[in-house]
Each structure stands twice: as structure tokens, then as C-alpha cells.
């Protein structure tokens, strides 16, 4: 059992399982409309949560950016008539939002004061004026009390149902999101074109990495050789890296390129420039 404030203001212990059980008779059999409604509510709530989080982030980033801009630009740029109109409309929009929020806040404060006052009045009548209850209007009052109690019960039931449905809706929305993403990924993975693209990308990356390693080791070959030659006080042999006697790798390599016979015979460094893809 857990104690929590009820959405309608009452404090009443609610067990989530119990609350869900209340709706389970309906949910025991699949109801498309109810499930859809649940999904819509859950999706809206989860979406709003996510949107709020993102909005907070974006606003912080925008404010940080605005501070930077303020430091560089102290005066407002010249504006045309349409700009002024647009600024006015936007300003009015935000002004209205602010006023509405203030209005709601003051209404809530008044309602709270009124509730407190009515509670105190009620207490006064109960303790100091018990004879008030002994009036000819008692049957009406009793009927009204019954109606009030029924209304409160109804509101409580709705709140319970709403709480349970909201939780279920949120779970459903999350499940739906994950499921849709999984299905989308599955579809993409099974799509031959997408798969081919991924494979090509993977192969390309692997080839690039291997080429990079080869180039670096080839450079390291030259570097360590130079060190060895310096240590032994031997002259660094130039770009002599050609096998003599026309040696070449096994002729089975049909794809082995050969140099053009008329290529210039200029001495070149034995290490090539970095290859760029």
C-alpha cells in the first residue's frame, strides 16, 4: 500500500495493482478502441515529457547563444514595417501567454483561499452552531450530501482509472516506440539494398584502415632503417628497393600493374605520398 495525493486532492491509499485490477475486467478481453485510446494518451504523455526535456535543453542553448550575441551586438538592428509588425505579433503572443499564466495562478490562489474559508465556516457551524442542522431543510441537505458523496466517489473512481490508464498508456507507448524501431531496423537489415550499402561501407572502412596501417608501417620501415644505418655509421642507401634481375612476384597475379616503359627514370623516394581516398 502506498499513500499518495490523489489527483482530485484527497489523500487516499491506492495500490497500483489494485487500481489496475479495477480496469482489468475491461482489459481482460482485447478492446481495440480502448487500446488505441490508451496508446494515444500514453504517446501524448511520453511525447510531452520528451518534448519538455528537449525544449529545456534548446532554451538553455538558445539563451547561452543569445548572451554571446548580446555581448557583440548592443543595439537593435534597423527594422522595416513588416519586421515591426511581426515583432509586435510575436510579443503579443508571449504577453498573452504570460497574462494567462498569471490569471490562472491568481484564480488558483483565490480558490485555495475560498476552500480554506469554507472549511473554517463549516468547522464553526459544526462546533458552535449544531442547532443549524436541526432545520426543516434537513432532508434536502441530506440529499445534497448524498449527491456530493456520490460525486466525490465518482471523481475518485475516475481519478483511479485515469492513473491506471495513464501508466498503462505510457508503457504501451514506450513498447510501441521500441517495437516500431526494432521492426524498422529489421526491415532495413532485410532490405537487400540497405544491406549491400552497409556491407560496402563496412568493407570500405576496413580497407581504408588496412591501407592506413600498411602505409604507416611502410613509413616506419624507412624510419627504423635510417636509425639503424646511423647507428652503424653506414651511408643511408638511397631509394634502392628494386629487386634485381627482373624479379617480380609470381606471375599468377594477373592483376599486377606494370609501369609504363616510357615513365621518367627520376630518383624517387622509396615511400610514396599518402594516398587519399
Amino acid at each position: 500500500m502506498n499513500d499518495q495525493t490523489h489527483p482530485n486532492g484527497h489523500i487516499r491509499p491506492i495500490a497500483p495493482a489494485e487500481a489496475i485490477d479495477d480496469v482489468s475486467p475491461d482489459s481482460a478481453r482485447f478492446d481495440t478502441a480502448a487500446a488505441l485510446l490508451r496508446l494515444l494518451v500514453g504517446g501524448a504523455l511520453v511525447g510531452m515529457d520528451e518534448l519538455r526535456i528537449h525544449l529545456e535543453r534548446w532554451q538553455e542553448a538558445a539563451q547561452a547563444s543569445a548572451q554571446t550575441v548580446h555581448q557583440t551586438m548592443q543595439t537593435m538592428p534597423p527594422r522595416t514595417t513588416s519586421d515591426a509588425l511581426r515583432y509586435t505579433l510575436v510579443g503579443m503572443l508571449f504577453e498573452t501567454e504570460t497574462r494567462m499564466r498569471r490569471g490562472f495562478a491568481s484564480m488558483a490562489a483565490r480558490f485555495s483561499r475560498f476552500s480554506r474559508l469554507s472549511g473554517e465556516t463549516n468547522l464553526y457551524y459544526k462546533t458552535l452552531r449544531p442547532d443549524v442542522y436541526q432545520t426543516p431543510f434537513d432532508p434536502v441537505r441530506v440529499r445534497l450530501d448524498e449527491m456530493r458523496i456520490r460525486a466525490m466517489e465518482t471523481v475518485d473512481r475516475w481519478a483511479d482509472r485515469g492513473w491506471a490508464e495513464e501508466q498503462q498508456g505510457r508503457r504501451m507507448a514506450r513498447q510501441a516506440t521500441v517495437g516500431v524501431i526494432d521492426e524498422l531496423l529489421d526491415y532495413m537489415a532485410q532490405n537487400p539494398e540497405v544491406r549491400l550499402l552497409i556491407e560496402e561501407q563496412g568493407m570500405g572502412m576496413a580497407e581504408t584502415a588496412v591501407d592506413e596501417v600498411r602505409e604507416r608501417t611502410a613509413s616506419a620501415d624507412m624510419w627504423i632503417e635510417r636509425i639503424a644505418h646511423n647507428l652503424l655509421h653506414r651511408p643511408v642507401s638511397g631509394p634502392l628497393t628494386k629487386p634485381v634481375d627482373g624479379a617480380e612476384p609470381p606471375t599468377t597475379e594477373a592483376d599486377a600493374p606494370s609501369a609504363p616503359a616510357d615513365a621518367p627514370q627520376t630518383p624517387t623516394p622509396s615511400r610514396p605520398p599518402r594516398r587519399t581516398r
Binding site: 627504423i224 600493374p257 615513365a263 624517387t268
Partner: protein, 172 residues
């Protein structure tokens, strides 16, 4: 073949050393896998009574098993490099590093030459690996085993380095 045209530049110490280490890793994995397979087979035979427990734990049987393991190890240690040299002209490690073995006369390696080169490996290793380090000071980047077998290790024609170098025509 015009000797003035470029063939393939010789591979240096680092490329060859990394290729060697990669090959050692591959060979070790292969030996371990083979031993695990033999162990599994022995376990299977013992479990189903094809080989008795007493026999399995006897010294002669253990010696035989040890000999089998040793044979596997030696077989892989010799067969792996020699086989790849003869069949492909390069081991998987060399393939990855983009280098290959070439004979002086341009012909593919024969089994005899490959075995000779393999023996040269051990000769290079005996004086604290001096034969391997010889590549650092040799003008043609040959180790002792290369000299013994009449081979070079060159950058592979398919490696980017060689492809770029091809057009440069290195001087003789």
C-alpha cells in the same frame, strides 16, 4: 623483362615483423584449436567406453597423446608458412600487411625452396635473431633466410603502397 622498369619495392623490417607476429598469433590459435579438437575426441572415446579409463590414464597412452599434440604443433608450425608460401606466395599475416615473397628469378616458390627458407628462419633466429635484423642493414632488405632461399619480400602489387610506387620506377 626490362630490368629498368620497376618491379616491387622491398618490404622493410617493421612490415615484416608485424606480419610475422600476426602469423604467430594465427598459428597459435590453430594449434590450440587442433589440440582442443583432439582433447574432445579423446573425451568422447573415453566417455563412451571406447577407451577405458585405466588406459586413458596410463603413461604410454599419455605419451602417445603428447606425441600427437607435438606432431600437430610441428605440423602446423612447418605446414602453415611453407604451405602458404608455396600456394599463395604469402601468409595471412603478410597478406594483411600487403607484402609477399618473390624469388629472384620471378618464379613461384617451390616446396624445396620454401623448406629451405623455413630452415633459414631457424638459422636467422639462432644468433639472437641477428638474421632477422639483417634486413635493417642489407641493401636489398634481405634476411639470412631470404639470402639462403634466394627470395625477397616485396610490397604486394595490390597494396596501396605498391600501387603508388609502381608508377614511380625506382632506380636500380
Amino acid at each position: 623483362m626490362d630490368t629498368a622498369t620497376l618491379q616491387y619495392p622491398h618490404a622493410g623490417f617493421i612490415s615484416r615483423a608485424i606480419a610475422f607476429v600476426l602469423d604467430i598469433v594465427v598459428m597459435s590459435v590453430a594449434v590450440l584449436a587442433a589440440i582442443a579438437l583432439v582433447q574432445s575426441l579423446l573425451g568422447f572415446f573415453t566417455l563412451y567406453g571406447l577407451v577405458g579409463q585405466r588406459v586413458a590414464q596410463s603413461t604410454p597412452f599419455r605419451d602417445i597423446v603428447f606425441a600427437v599434440f607435438a606432431l600437430i604443433g610441428v605440423g602446423i608450425a612447418i605446414g602453415y608458412p611453407v604451405g602458404f608460401w608455396v600456394l599463395l606466395g604469402q601468409t595471412p599475416g603478410k597478406l594483411l600487411m600487403g607484402v609477399r615473397i618473390a624469388r629472384i628469378n620471378g618464379q613461384p616458390l617451390t616446396i624445396r625452396r620454401a623448406l629451405l627458407r623455413y630452415v633459414g628462419y631457424w638459422l636467422s633466429a639462432i644468433p639472437l635473431g641477428l638474421g632477422f635484423f639483417w634486413v635493417l642493414v642489407d641493401d636489398r632488405r634481405q634476411c639470412w633466410h631470404d639470402k639462403l632461399a634466394g627470395t625477397y619480400v616485396v610490397y604486394d602489387s595490390r597494396s596501396p603502397f605498391s600501387r603508388l610506387s609502381i608508377g614511380h620506377k625506382l632506380v636500380a
